[in-house]
């Protein structure tokens, strides 16, 4: 994927991506950053991901538990709450609808040429 993404677009979809990945397997902050990079967001900055985790937890969409870590203080592992899963389903549906609109506009444009 390209690194030249609109930061606002990324900011809008990041909570959905975070909950999506955490729904597949719980992770701590830095591990989640590496998973997002592996998923295609190569240039994602930890400084963008960590505050998102904090916000989602404060909003009750994520829950966390501390697990002892060999690298120092305990790691905080996150996973979605039922509210987070509901948000994910709704955000994914909205993204699909938007993607369909974008696809339709692009197809019409090609047809009209």
């Amino acid at each position: 994927m390209s690194d030249a993404r609109d930061p606002q677009l990324l900011k809008g979809v990041l909570p959905m991506l975070v909950i999506g990945l955490l729904g597949a397997a719980e992770s701590y902050g830095y591990e989640l950053v590496t998973r997002l990079r592996t998923a295609g967001l190569d240039g994602i900055a930890p400084g963008t991901v960590y505050p998102t985790l904090t916000r989602l937890e404060r909003e009750g969409r994520l829950t966390s538990r501390l697990v002892p870590s060999p690298s120092g203080p305990a790691r905080k592992y996150y996973r979605p709450t039922p509210a987070g899963e509901a948000y994910y389903a709704s955000a994914l549906a909205a993204w699909d609808e938007l993607g369909a609109v974008v696809g339709a506009v692009a197809t019409r444009r090609e047809d009209d040429r």
Partner: protein, 169 residues
């Protein structure tokens, strides 16, 4: 795994800066955020080195702002308020020193003696002779007091106590 001392110092220094800018966040959550950042930096450092791990987090002020943007309500930042008041006092002290030095210079140019002047409401007595220089500052400066209080109130964003400190995003 234990981090090298240089890495721990670098991380400590970075987190000190973040903590300063996170001052408007409630204490318990601020400590949680800093504890988590400390662990994440240790994990990232094993992967890419501490310098790169810190660089990836961005400037402390920008990172703190990202966290504060997630807060439903921001508190005033009393630490920044103290820094603001200190800055006003430091500027005033420098100006007072320049004023007193100017008085001494003038006295020396006219053969020495004692002169009394006023600086922002303070009484400044300067004594200058070939044997040495001396100053005495007395009184109370309302102008300086008000400027210091204003510096504190503005730097701490104390209006958030009244407005409820709406989140920025």
């Amino acid at each position: 795994m234990t981090l090298p001392l240089a890495d721990r110092i670098r991380r400590w220094s970075y987190l000190q800066d973040v903590e300063l800018w996170l001052d408007p966040m409630p204490g318990r959550r601020r400590r949680e955020v800093l504890r988590e950042l400390r662990t994440n930096l240790a994990d990232a450092a094993q992967d890419v080195g501490m310098a790169r791990a810190i660089e990836d987090l961005g400037k402390p002020r920008a990172l703190a702002r990202s966290y504060l943007d997630t807060e439903p309500r921001r508190r005033p930042s009393w630490s920044l308020g103290v820094l603001g008041a200190g800055a006003v006092l430091a500027v005033a002290l420098l100006a007072l020193m320049a004023y007193a030095a100017g008085m001494a210079d003038t006295l020396l140019a006219t053969g020495g003696g004692t002169a009394t002047g006023g600086f922002l409401g303070l009484r400044v007595v300067t004594e200058a002779s070939e044997n040495g220089l001396g100053w005495e500052v007395s009184g109370w400066s309302w102008a300086l007091s008000i400027a210091t209080v204003l510096g504190f109130l503005l730097a701490s964003a104390s209006w958030r106590l009244v407005t409820g400190g709406r989140s920025g995003g």
